[in-house]
Symmetry: C2
Subunit: 333 residues, 2 copies
């Protein structure tokens, strides 16, 4: 089955490339409110579920024990750009747990922000694990391990107690199995589990509403959502889609990108969660598609809907700043 | 019409993403030898036709008048990585025509090679038009303008005499119209014309064989092909697909990548040209698909075919160097 085209890329007024994909929007009961393409096929959500992976940090009491503030909670759910503020905050979170950056097992890479990479190189520094876009999440894992008295060595492995706790949490939230059989290894070395989009959408609706969750988990989810929506720079970075969408949403919209064309999120006031996957794995496709989806879901608020419709259409400029084309998320209806 | 899946991306042994596309392989008469998907739909070839755009540089006598050597001719057909050797050679080509880098109208960008970007930033320099991946092609255009006595100001514009000459040349080579109606603006500001893959494949077969071309054009094409195959580092750069494929081909295979998932090339000994487009525009898809195609077309040479089959499968490693998946060009048969 071929999924529908969700995004077109135009040049000279002609379609140059296009992105197919599938979308699930669900409520906390698991009922599909909107569905495009195949929403039953398992998808690796990658970093789009970092907020789910951060639940044990709050539920265990680690976040309170180490006094993590709103920015630090946002960073624990982030795929950040490796800007100086992100790297510094990840270091600070580790310090709260009495750890140094060498405890991180996510691997080092240069900042995903080219500007941050150039600044870092100019200053004579080198890339470290703190610049890895997942360093905030991993710092959160390490806080959780320390608070729970777990040996943190090997905390990224699928058999480690902390990863088992995360998998069990995500099974409960999404209603889908998170086992070795449906696992792969993510870029930062932790397991990622392939589950249907409908389960991801349902899970985000539950986090957004608290429905079906224990009181402790509902409270933890609300706190993480609110942290991300309050400090979206710490979830992504300068000019990034998640930062701009959550800034526009002003506490009414939660979004989170994942690698390989995944986007998840929720609109708490509507009680809805969503998940989408661009089949070819491109980020530009996922960003345009999620903005078009949000323009539709928020259609009762004309001004906000128009903001997202604007974001669904990105003008392409060349190296001389000349407009040459457009990435256009097709309207959802 | 949906094109077939040409490339799969796997994680944990499961298909995570996939790339659809179309392929045309043709001889110089325009007869299709192999066809996958829609090869009649117009496609912007982008940088994949730089060797066609460089024909007037040689045909006009400019290359000889300015004494361009093999590396400089290769650079005139390049999408280079902006490594120091590339930027220095582009400067040298301009100097042969008595010009400075400020004559370039391609725009500036940091090297496409992250390592080259980091080195440049460390050295305190900034990105210039010389680092633009198209600077060699543009330096060639400027040599052509100077030799032909054309005012080079505005040489990138569709109405400039040099761009008209390129369009007329490409019309003859491909047999497809190159007009304002089917044009768009490329990343480096020159026009790009959407033409069917079958015409692009036919054009590359003609360049590879000289068939249907004037003696002067056939000679110019042979000279440019030989330069690229002899100096593939100057066509791309360290670790790049074109460099590795042409090094493996040892003068028997010409390949050239274009933006938005395009690949073109030729196998002169078989009298064949080819063109492919990944519908979603991703480079990883185009690279895996072209290697799988070459493994098929060169199947009579088991060792060389096996080299290309190896290149069609790229192991994905994460930031800790752990193997997490594979980009796999599906075998062509």
């Amino acid at each position: 089955m071929t999924n529908p085209v969700l995004v077109e890329v135009l040049r000279g007024g002609k379609v140059e490339s296009r992105h197919e994909g599938s979308i699930a929007v669900a409520d906390a009961s698991g009922a599909l409110v909107l569905s495009r393409g195949d929403v039953a096929r398992p998808v690796f959500p990658r970093s789009a579920v970092k907020v789910m992976q951060a639940l044990p940090l709050v539920e265990s009491g680690a976040a309170d024990a180490f006094g993590l503030d709103v920015k630090e909670l946002a960073l624990a759910c982030a795929s950040h750009s490796g800007e100086p503020e992100h790297a510094a905050l990840a270091r600070a979170v580790l310090a709260r747990a009495g750890l140094e950056p060498d405890a991180l097992e996510c691997g080092a890479h240069w900042p995903t922000s080219q500007e941050a990479t150039i600044r870092l190189a100019r200053s004579g520094e080198v890339a470290s694990a703190l610049h890895n876009n997942c360093s905030g999440k991993h710092s959160g894992f390490l806080c959780g391990c320390r608070h729970m008295g777990l040996n943190h060595r090997g905390y990224v492995k699928i058999g480690h107690d902390y990863q088992r706790l995360i998998a069990a949490t995500m099974e409960e939230v999404t209603g889908a199995a998170h086992r070795e059989e449906n696992s792969g290894t993510d870029g930062c070395s932790i397991p990622t589990y392939a589950v249907p989009l409908v389960n991801l959408a349902t899970g985000f609706a539950r986090l957004a509403t608290g429905e079906t969750l224990s009181a402790g988990r509902a409270s933890a989810a609300r706190r993480l959502f609110e942290a991300c929506m309050a400090e979206p720079f710490y979830v992504a970075g300068t000019g990034r889609a998640d930062t701009e969408m959550m800034e526009a949403g002003r506490g009414r919209v939660f979004t989170k990108v994942g690698a390989e064309g995944v986007y998840c999120g929720a609109i708490p006031e509507l009680g809805l969660g969503f998940a989408l996957k661009i089949d070819d794995g491109t980020g530009r496709g996922a960003e345009a598609a999620v903005a078009a989806l949000l323009a539709h879901l928020l259609r009762d608020d004309e001004a906000l809907s128009a903001r997202f419709a604007d974001m669904a259409s990105v003008t392409l400029k060349n190296w001389n700043g000349i407009e040459v084309g457009e990435v256009r998320g097709l309207p959802v209806s």
